[in-house]
């Protein structure tokens, strides 16, 4: 078993028009910038992107939006230091937004990965974000039914991967990564280093390789925040 792929371009080459793509990261932390930019080079359109945010600056998800690749975003917080790309596309009606409370977004993705089609949560009960959703009362308290969220692909950044796809993340860059790895039909991971099976202590594996399909070594991965500080543009 060897899940390593040669380069980001090869690993994302089969993502077609209309695909749903989960992208890890909370702001720039854990954002798989090199995989995203490889996907921009490839250029599929009408994508549904699932991320906590909706891009910052002129790189990453913002550059995907600028390139006209994104039909819909499912996220909790489509604002950032420099939200121009999303804001302009949204206000012009070029992009659809499904706004989801952050914990509900995480749990929907987890549920998708765990084979649980729906669950109840107190989050959003009695608010406009619960409009049209079934509700129920449990032990005297109101809850909203939320559905699982799955995707065709996930793009995730890890610190270390082994050839079987076992993953260790870096600090708070972990965020949505372990959930998205579970919830996508094909999970594509960029890792700062790839090691032989056994080199990661089994006690330390965060995402078991079963949830991962492709791993690509990106040893010099950049931080989205650093690129934005430099004023980087990907086009």
């Amino acid at each position: 078993m060897d899940k390593t792929w040669d380069c980001p371009a090869a690993a994302v080459a089969d993502i077609p028009d209309g695909a749903s793509v989960m992208i890890g990261g909370f702001g720039g932390s854990g954002a798989p910038i090199e995989l995203i930019h490889a996907l921009i080079d490839r250029g599929p359109r009408d994508l549904t992107v699932i991320n906590n945010n909706a891009g910052n600056g002129r790189i990453g998800i913002a550059a995907m939006i600028d390139a006209g690749m994104v039909r819909k975003i499912i996220c909790s917080f489509p604002k950032s230091k420099d939200p121009r790309a999303f804001t302009e596309a949204y206000l012009a009606g070029r992009i659809e937004l499904e706004l989801v409370p952050q914990g509900t977004l995480a749990e929907r993705i987890r549920a998708g990965g765990a084979g649980i089609p729906a669950f109840y949560t107190p989050t959003s009960f009695g608010t406009e974000l619960a409009a049209g959703k079934p509700t129920a009362e449990f032990d005297g308290r109101g809850y909203v039914q939320e559905r699982w969220l799955k995707a065709d692909y996930a793009l995730v950044k890890a610190e270390t991967a082994d050839r079987h796809g076992n993953l260790v993340y870096r600090k708070a860059g972990r965020n949505f990564g372990p959930l998205m790895c579970m919830a996508a039909a094909a999970t594509i991971v960029q890792a700062s280093r790839i090691v032989e099976p056994g080199a990661i202590d089994p006690e330390h594996v965060v995402t078991p390789g079963l949830f991962v399909d492709r791993v690509i070594a990106v040893p010099d991965a950049r931080q989205e925040e650093d690129l934005n500080i430099e004023g980087a543009v990907y086009a």
């Binding site: 932390s29 909790s76 917080f77 995480a106 708070a172 959930l179």
Partner: protein, 227 residues
């Protein structure tokens, strides 16, 4: 009428007052922006552990400029540091901490708080790009959900109201409000005044509050240091 602009607490002083109620050993989430300031005023001798939605327990203050690690950020996407004993976890575990009721205190900002405990703090309800983040989760996530806020909006309207007019973040979720003029509890669908600045009369405080301030025993003086 007292000149409210001259007597009201600064944001730092409101944050200081809220910090006095955080007990030793508490797990605490501070909303992004103004509530983050509460951590500066942790009471000496008490240890609170701060939670951030993006997957850290026990983070510390910002690093020195140039020392930022952009995988170490808080929910406001500002760089933070780690305290000894910190932990990382993924987003579903993070929100299990929230929605499972494992946090002791959440301190959030507000556009409006109603006497029934409803909170509006995520949307001003008109146009633009809506963004909710973790606000709707946090209001259901802690044993105690407190709000820190100016008593009035920038245009002078009361923020403590009978019913919220803006889109709700959560229903019946707030238990205490620390404002620039007073400390108010929410009990059984009504505001109960606990502390007020000595410089404002009860009548004047009521006049700038959008719902009845009930009394339940003596009202203490709201006293804070110069900060």
């Amino acid at each position: 009428m007292s000149n409210i602009a001259n007597i009201k607490l600064s944001n730092a002083q409101i944050a200081w007052r809220a910090a006095q109620d955080i007990e030793d050993g508490s797990y605490v989430n501070l909303g992004i922006g103004f509530p983050e300031m509460v951590a500066r005023y942790q009471v000496a001798g008490r240890k609170a552990i701060y939670h951030t939605e993006n997957g850290i327990l026990d983070f510390g203050p910002a690093p020195a400029p140039g020392q930022e690690d952009w995988d170490l950020i808080n929910a406001g996407k500002k760089a933070v540091t780690l305290n000894p004993g910190a932990a990382f976890f993924h987003h579903a575990d993070s929100f299990a901490m929230v929605r499972g009721g494992h946090l002791d205190v959440a301190i959030l900002g507000a556009f409006e708080v109603a006497e029934n405990g409803d909170l509006a703090n995520w949307s001003v309800g008109k146009g633009g790009v809506p963004a909710v983040g973790g606000a709707m989760d946090l209001v259901h996530g802690a044993k105690r959900v407190a709000v820190i806020t100016d008593h009035l909006t920038k245009t002078g309207a009361p923020k403590l109201v009978e019913r919220c007019s803006l889109p709700l973040t959560g229903v019946g979720c707030v238990t205490r409000v620390y404002t620039s003029l007073a400390v108010v509890d929410i009990e059984a669908g009504r505001f109960v005044l606990r502390e007020k600045l000595a410089a404002i009369t009860l009548g004047d405080l009521q006049a700038v509050t959008g719902a009845t301030l009930n009394l339940d025993g003596p009202v203490a003086a709201l006293t804070v240091p110069e900060l």
